[in-house]
Subunit: 350 residues, 3 copies
Amino acid sequence: MFITNTWYVAARSDEVVADAPLGRKICDQSMVFFRNAAGEIAALEDFCPHRGAPLSLGRVVGDTLVCGYHGLAMGANGRTVSMPCQRVGGFPAIRSFPAHEAHGFIWVWPGEAEKADLALLPPFEWLGNPAYGYGGGLYHIGCDYRLLIDNLMDLTHETYVHASSIGQKEIDDAPCKTRVEGDHVITERFMSGIEAPPFWRMALRMNGLPEDQKVDRWQICHFTPPSHIMIEVGVALAGQGGYHAPDAVKAASWVVDFITPETAHSLHYFWGMARKFKPDDEALTAQIREGQGKIFAEDQEMLERQQQNLLAWPGRRLLMLNIDGGGVQSRKVIDRLLAAQAAPSTPAAA
Amino acid sequence: MFITNTWYVAARSDEVVADAPLGRKICDQSMVFFRNAAGEIAALEDFCPHRGAPLSLGRVVGDTLVCGYHGLAMGANGRTVSMPCQRVGGFPAIRSFPAHEAHGFIWVWPGEAEKADLALLPPFEWLGNPAYGYGGGLYHIGCDYRLLIDNLMDLTHETYVHASSIGQKEIDDAPCKTRVEGDHVITERFMSGIEAPPFWRMALRMNGLPEDQKVDRWQICHFTPPSHIMIEVGVALAGQGGYHAPDAVKAASWVVDFITPETAHSLHYFWGMARKFKPDDEALTAQIREGQGKIFAEDQEMLERQQQNLLAWPGRRLLMLNIDGGGVQSRKVIDRLLAAQAAPSTPAAA
Amino acid sequence: MFITNTWYVAARSDEVVADAPLGRKICDQSMVFFRNAAGEIAALEDFCPHRGAPLSLGRVVGDTLVCGYHGLAMGANGRTVSMPCQRVGGFPAIRSFPAHEAHGFIWVWPGEAEKADLALLPPFEWLGNPAYGYGGGLYHIGCDYRLLIDNLMDLTHETYVHASSIGQKEIDDAPCKTRVEGDHVITERFMSGIEAPPFWRMALRMNGLPEDQKVDRWQICHFTPPSHIMIEVGVALAGQGGYHAPDAVKAASWVVDFITPETAHSLHYFWGMARKFKPDDEALTAQIREGQGKIFAEDQEMLERQQQNLLAWPGRRLLMLNIDGGGVQSRKVIDRLLAAQAAPSTPAAA
């Protein structure tokens, strides 16, 4: 159901403050995140080995997370450090999860700890890149994480779900193409000589470009496992090369979608936008985040009601059209990785 | 559990407006209702054949219901009419349900479409009859539809549940008689020389009759399948013939109860009153609807808590007293029709 | 799961007023409590033998509880007394439960009625004793009743859960001792020469004692079946004998905890305090009740989240430390009584 030997975004950095732990369920595992005295992140099972209380109701003291029920002090490695009047040497350890913080995100590896490898963190070019201005948020959605992958790999839904903001009929009318490069699925769509929708008019203006001219527009959706979707979006003044036009005549961004499964039918959706213009304009960041937040909230009811429908009609097969190609190919990658995860390890020598 | 080869009230006409579809579950089937350009009603499974989104989140365009997710345009017959950039000929159909609109109600046939027959619509004399003034509403109640049948076929509950409005001790004290005529169950009660309760005082006044004299009162409950209950109610000045008294000395109405099962333990309750006096007095219609709405809301907690009790004590047998005869006989009719529905069809020639 | 041949607190006396019945589920049985004309308490199944309506929606008339649906009048013994126009002789009885009222509490015996014995009511010395002032309240908590027993038999949680009121680090640091005397489990802790926490400063003041001197403090938790926990708490001026000091130099109370299981994962918590000072000061009673109510509410989230954790990790074994001894021993008593309850009765002669 879930790829677990991989890195997921567990939280935004600002969700885990110095003193207070954060409880969050990821891939059906209740976890607690906290910072030690140096500010480093630890991730543990949210279960005190003493009597099963959630450690996320406790507080941080020094390098330990102190249970809010009877004062057991838990270390970042899942071993009890101390407890009033108790010898804790024989206390059973709880599970700790590899965790890492970088560029405003806290990552967690919910699978086999010995396979965790920082080299496997995704190398998105906008992450920590000062040429980009980033803003985003977090939504909780009650659906299978793969329904949101489908959603984001088929942007024709913008015309219907987001008709008043980023949608436009030309999206529907432009054919899309999907290709697969290893575990990487790319669905792209190019529109030529169209009107810019409101968001892109603003972006053109911010780049000192005229907003009332025809533009070429692109949407290039990139799926990478387990469930990260980065979408290159942008417009260029028409006829200057489109996606390949020089920076001086275009406006471009990455739409950021980190999807982290919570349970079989719910997920944490870390959405955002990394824009390649006016990176330090914080008022603009706030304005875009607010607008994007409203738009992305429009998907929630559709996704949750779709999930309910699929549960109510479990035997019904869905269509797989060309527009669905991105989702279909992404699910094939996921299925392949899930099968590999379930298979017994190859013996070292046979 | 449900009789399905029959007509149920699915909605009031005003619930399905020109542009917006209405989603409603009937007999455990999620349906969507919409009007084509000519205003005619269609009923479909609430499931887009593309990716399973509920069509009830879409909108009506011309004669089609356009899915709010990716723009599939569905026809009234359950076949896809079009979808941007797609050939839709091979798309699987979804189920359509026979539907019919008449006299302010939308009817649906949730069973085998080929057996649907407009001649089987119930011929209530007040429906569309200008001699009657009608007002009503819709409640959602969390109980088996048969518990509401029991409720309405035994009006002694008025004395207890509706003590302050239509209840009076004389109802309890007057014996009732139940008879069965084919699928039609009738429970009737006649009270002679009693005080009129508040509702009937008002009705007498509206008919230009004295409200401070003794009256004869009647309640004649008619069950017809699947779960329609029409109750003839009225009062006549005492000693003038009661139910058979001339119109000039009486006031009479039909209490209307269309019960439509939603699930095994919930229902849609279309209640109303068709009064045979001042049919065009809209202020009176509004006043009666408000009063009736308050009274009928008093049954909700009792029905839902009774349902919970029956689920908690599943083995417990209930009493079947004479006052319960109407419900008992109605359930026998239902059981007979359910058995016939479950039986294999008779071969044409044996 | 539940000891049933025993007395539980079902309600505070003031919860069952003259006219209105009270519905409450105890040990998974839906019960209704009401008073007859003489004010005596009866407890019955909350199920009308007519059609299964909850009798708790009815009202009391004379010595009967009249069903709010169709008027069946039920007697305190579970037999129908009358019903309009019906002969009720053959109506099936519903179950009645032995009930008893004393000193402000209503007790019920949910098990075999023939084993109910008033001599088995617990003889707490403060109950009905004018030397004590009593105030308390009722909370509904979503956890197994045994988790609350654990909570109350291990007061080290005060340091963490109730840090701002009754908790103090010295509780953690003082060893506790647990002993078992038959079915009675006692966990006690004594602290010497410490600062009095805020509640006890107030109590010293009320007893005309100085509040700024060192004190000796004690906590003696008494578990008796099925799930009553009485805690002797108090302080004495330091060095005067502590728990055994003369009354003139100490302040003492009983913390009262009647735990009544509702379902496998919920309970009714009747909490209170019987103080051995200023027993008639009603303003003080109100002040203490308010303070205690706030403190005891702090346990609710912890207990409910602990319950959810235990359900999510069913295979995980918990630690049993010395501080947990009181809970562990109490559960052993419960397990022994549950086993005896499940065993076939000993034959009279073998």
